[in-house]
Each structure stands twice: as structure tokens, then as C-alpha cells.
Amino acid sequence: MIAKLAGLRRSPLAVVVTLVAILLVVNISLTPSMLAPAQLPNTLNLLVPSVLVAMASTPSVMSGRGGIDLSVGPLLGVVNVFLVGLLVPYGLGGAGTAIPILLVLGIVTGLVSGALVAFGRLQPVVVTLGGYLVLSGVALVVMPQPVGGVPDWVSYLSGSWFGGYLPRSVLLVVVAVAVWLFLKRRGAIGLILATGSDDRAAHTSGVRVSRVLCLAYATGGLFAALAGIGLSVLIQSGDPSIGKQYTLAAVAAVALGGNPLGGGRGTLIGPMLGALSLFLIQTLLSGAHVSSLWIQVVYGAVLLFAICTNSSIASRLTARPALGSP
């Protein structure tokens, strides 16, 4: 038992789990209504896009080479805008047509980034920074102004089952986790981690590094598309500019979750919990009626504190100097 606890303390997840636990207790004691059936769907609808976008950033960061997908935020916006601004007016807004189209849109966008990184041999920051600008531009071209009117299935997803205890938007996260577990079972996640840890070693061991990189970015794109649907569920309208702000929050969530930004290691649950803790910090501050201007300061301070603590744990983990590491 004690050994288990000690192991937990050293886990890269320790900081984020502790943070979430503390924040949950404080949040619930301050605003007990947060988990009441009347509030829970709203709370979770707010949370779902943040969690999904953190998941979307995870595979690209794992894949190494300084991999990071800065374009996930605007991709969220593009998915939202495509749904409300293109698919609905052209009569393709039904769940059967819209959902596959949007998911394919996300996967293809991710594949393009992945191909530019893998075959174009460009640095991921450059590719996804370009993607960031292109996608935010495209969103504004398709829809210059926010527009209302979402299809019925989006409104349906914002509701809940069992009298408010099981919000339907959680389905989106369940789908994403299922995809991840499937990929993990097929060994794909292991290959992504191997590539991220040392792409030369992976290449010489017969891993098709280029394809693995494409897969990592495509998976991120798929999760970002799910996040875009989650965003549509949340705002119940189309808004071209709201997606962008998710990018930096996603990076922060990944780092908070204990995944090294250098790639090669990491979990999916870490970034999910990272997103949850960032969300709880915000609800805590707004629940305590702190001025919204203060939120930014506290947000940054908590982030700084958490990653410093994370890092000292990581350095304890790798106390022995790694031999021959570049």
C-alpha cells in the first residue's frame, strides 16, 4: 500500500491528479450546485470542447521532433463554421451526413499537417502555425459574422439523460477515448511513442516513421473535429473566431497533464485531467466572484506552479543520467 502510494507520488500524473482533487473539493464546497442535475449539463457542455481539444493536441506532441499542433484551435472553429455556415444551408445538416463529413474534414486537415511534417520535412511549429492562419482565415471567409441556427441533433446533444445526471455531450469524449483505445490495442500509439522517443531508432527498427507521423496528426485532427462538434453543442450557433482561443489552452493542458513537450512519453488521461483542472480554476475564480481580469493572472500563476512541480517530479524519475542521449 505504502509502496503503491510512493509510486503514485512519483507518477507524472501526480501533480494533475492532486490539483484536480483539490480544485474539485474547493469548487464543490463553494458552489455545491455545480453538480446538481440542473447545472451539470451546462458545466459539462463547457468542459467537453476543452477536454477534447487537449486530447487533440496529445498525439502530435507525443510524436516528437518538437511536434505540436497549433492549428487545433482554429480547426475547432472551422468545423463549427462548416456545420452551421455550409452544411445546414445546403441541406446536409442531418446527423447522418454532417457528422461523417465533419470528422473527415478533421482527419484530412490533420493528414495534411502530418504529411507536410513527415514528407515535407518541415518543422511542426511552422506547419501548424501556417495551418493556424489558414484555418482561422477560412473560418472567417466562410462565415464573416456569427450566425445562429444549428441542426436538431446538435440541440439534442446539449441535453441529458436520466434527468440531468448524464449529459449527452459526454458521448463525444467517449467516442474519442474509444478511438484512442482501439489505436492503442492495434499498437499504433506505441509506434507514435517510439517515433517520438527516437525517430532514428524507430526507423532502423522498421517503423514507417512518415506514416506514423501522419497517423498522429490525423488522430489529432479527428479529435479536433469532435471538439468542434462539442463547441457547436456549447454555443448552439456558428462563430468563426471563438475556436482560436482553444489552442494555447490545449498546449497548457498537455503540459499540465505531465506529458513532456519533447515527445516520446505521455498518457491521454493526463492532458484530459489537465484540461479539467484549467477548467476548474476558471469556475473556481468566477464562482468566488473574482474579477474576470484577475482570472488571467491566477491562471498563469497556477500553470507556472504546476509545470515547475511536474518537472521536479520528472527529474526525480530520471535521476540517473541517460547515456548517449542527444
Binding site: V125, V126, V251, L293, V297, G300
Partner: protein, 323 residues
């Protein structure tokens, strides 16, 4: 010799292609957009490029050691607001400049110390400090337009004014002088060479007794000070202090460095490249505005062009060649 090391490619990757890119974009602009190359238009472009360029010099220092500074826009905003507020309250300008530069350097130094002390990714550290600085400035100004620019600063950054016999705005001359000094610093001083060493190979740098903490702190402090300076200069251009003035510079400062050909992995590149990168970026934006694209379409095209331009010379070596 592998394909990526063919002599032509080697020459191209060493510099002239950045110059060619600037000239290429410029010629394209002359051909497509009327009045693109009039002297007043060039003067205006240079002034706009100088605000970006000053911040990009700082960003280059950080990128050379393999980091990235996301706090640039927050510090530009902070420099802008502090300068406008203090100058508006009648504080003498030299004091204002010292305060702005000092605070910028301090914030940057904190970035550097935290990054090197805990061995953290600078991306997240600077993101966090940007959030703190941004929030603090918002609290201070209540998120409103404040202060005013002193008269000399408005002249300093006006495209119509000249610097002595040189028909360029003083801010442009200041930018080019700073860039030249920075380039000399990284090429000709011991600390400058250590920046390259640290960026190229951290472990080798440690064995050669390069102080990782010292160099990292200096680079981030320079980036912070230059970002704040860029914000101060922007006060002259905008006439008042507004925190959000720095926002467009988040990606622009990185894009200028990358288009210039400095590797984001560190160890390769230089300041003059970022000067060319800033010029390319501004000429390109002007060209797109001249084509009367909407700002949204401009953004989309710019993103695609950044990727395309980088593909010309910023490619990594093929995996098979690195084994």
C-alpha cells in the same frame, strides 16, 4: 554526399535566398499593385516592419537556443501601456524608457531563469508569464485605452520624418542599428558564440562549461526588453496605450524568424535573417492588402505562404540521412 548537401542547395541555404525572397515579393508587388514601390509606400512599410523587426530580434535570440517566446505580445502590450501611461502623466521620457526596458528585461529574465532552473519547455513557461503579465496590465488599466504618446515619439515613428540626412524614419534606423549590434554580438563575442553552441548541442555546451542558466537568462531578458521596446515604439504610432496592440505579434514574430531561415530547433540562423524575414512578411502583407483581399483571406494566404517559403530552405534532413 546526399542530395540535401548538393553545392547549390548548400549555397541557397546559407542566405541569399532570403534576400531573393524579399526582392521577389517586392517585384511581385511592383508588378501587381500600383504605387507599391513609391518612396512613401516603402517608407511606410519600413516603419511597420521596424516594430515587428525589433521584437523579432529578441525572438531570434530565444529561438537560437532552441526555445520560443510566447510572451512577446504580452510584453509589447505592457510596454505600450506603461509608456503611454507614464508619459501621459508627465514623466520625463528617459525615465520612461528605462522603466519599460527594465521591466521587459526583468520579465524576460524570469522566463529564462524558470526555464533553465526547472528544465521546462519555454513554450509553456512564456505562455504562463504572458498570462500573468497580460492580466496584471489589464488590471492596472481596467482594459481601456490609456495615456498618450509624447510628441518626440510620434515624430520618431512617423514615416514622413527623416533621420538627419537619411530619408528614413528614426525608428527604422534604430531597428537596423539594433539588428547590426545584435548580429555582431552573436558572431563576434564569446557569449554570442555560446548561444549557438547551447542551441546546437546542450550536452556538448555543458561539457564546454557554457553556463546554460546564464545564457538562457540573457537571451530571454533580451527578448523581453526588445519586445517591451517595440511596444514603447508602437505608442508613438498608435498615439495611446492599449494592451491588445501586441496580439498580432505572437505569430508574426515567430513567422519573421522562421521565414528568415533560423531553425526553431536552435543553433542555426542569425539576426540579419530575421530582418529579412520581417521585411518579407510586411511586404507580403502589403501585397495582399493591395490585392484588396479581405483580412480573413489575407490571413489564410499568409499562412500558406509561410509554409511554402519555409519549404524552400527550412527543411530538415531526411531521416535516412541522419542515421
Amino acid at each position: 554526399m546526399s542530395v540535401s548537401e548538393l553545392p547549390v542547395k548548400q549555397v541557397l541555404s546559407k542566405g541569399p535566398i532570403q534576400l531573393l525572397t524579399v526582392v521577389g515579393v517586392f517585384v511581385l508587388g511592383m508588378l501587381i499593385v500600383p504605387d507599391f514601390a513609391t518612396f512613401s509606400s516603402i517608407q511606410a512599410m519600413l516603419v511597420i516592419a521596424s516594430f515587428l523587426g525589433v521584437a523579432a530580434i529578441g525572438q531570434t535570440f530565444v529561438v537560437l537556443i532552441g526555445g520560443i517566446d510566447l510572451s512577446v505580445p504580452a510584453l509589447i502590450g505592457a510596454g505600450n501601456v506603461i509608456a503611454a501611461r507614464l508619459a501621459g502623466n508627465g514623466m520625463p521620457s528617459p525615465v520612461v524608457i528605462l522603466i519599460v526596458l527594465g521591466l521587459g528585461a526583468l520579465c524576460g529574465a524570469i522566463n529564462g531563469i524558470v526555464t533553465s532552473l526547472w528544465k521546462l519547455p519555454s513554450l509553456v513557461v512564456t505562455l504562463a508569464t504572458a498570462s500573468v503579465v497580460g492580466g496584471a496590465v489589464l488590471l492596472w488599466t481596467n482594459a481601456t485605452l490609456t495615456g498618450s504618446a509624447p510628441q518626440w515619439l510620434t515624430t520618431f515613428t512617423s514615416a514622413a520624418s527623416g533621420t538627419g540626412p537619411i530619408p528614413l524614419a528614426p525608428v527604422v534606423v534604430l531597428w537596423l542599428v539594433l539588428a547590426l549590434l545584435a548580429q555582431l554580438f552573436i558572431l563576434r563575442t564569446k557569449s554570442g558564440r555560446q548561444i549557438y553552441l547551447l542551441g546546437a548541442n546542450r550536452e556538448a555546451a555543458r561539457l564546454m562549461l557554457v553556463s546554460e542558466r546564464g545564457i538562457t537568462t540573457v537571451c530571454f531578458a533580451l527578448s523581453g526588453a526588445l519586445a517591451a521596446l517595440s511596444g514603447l515604439l508602437l505608442t508613438g504610432f498608435t498615439g495611446a496605450g492599449l494592451f491588445t496592440v501586441g496580439d498580432p505579434y505572437l505569430f508574426q514574430s515567430i513567422a519573421a524568424v522562421v521565414i528568415g531561415g533560423t531553425s526553431l530547433l536552435g543553433g542555426r540562423g542569425g539576426i540579419v535573417r530575421s530582418v529579412l524575414g520581417s521585411l518579407t512578411l510586411v511586404a507580403l502583407t502589403t501585397l495582399l492588402i493591395g490585392l484588396s483581399l479581405t483580412s480573413a483571406a489575407q490571413q489564410a494566404v499568409l499562412g500558406a505562404v509561410i509554409v511554402a517559403v519555409t519549404a524552400l530552405y527550412g527543411r530538415d534532413r531526411a531521416l535516412g540521412d541522419r542515421i
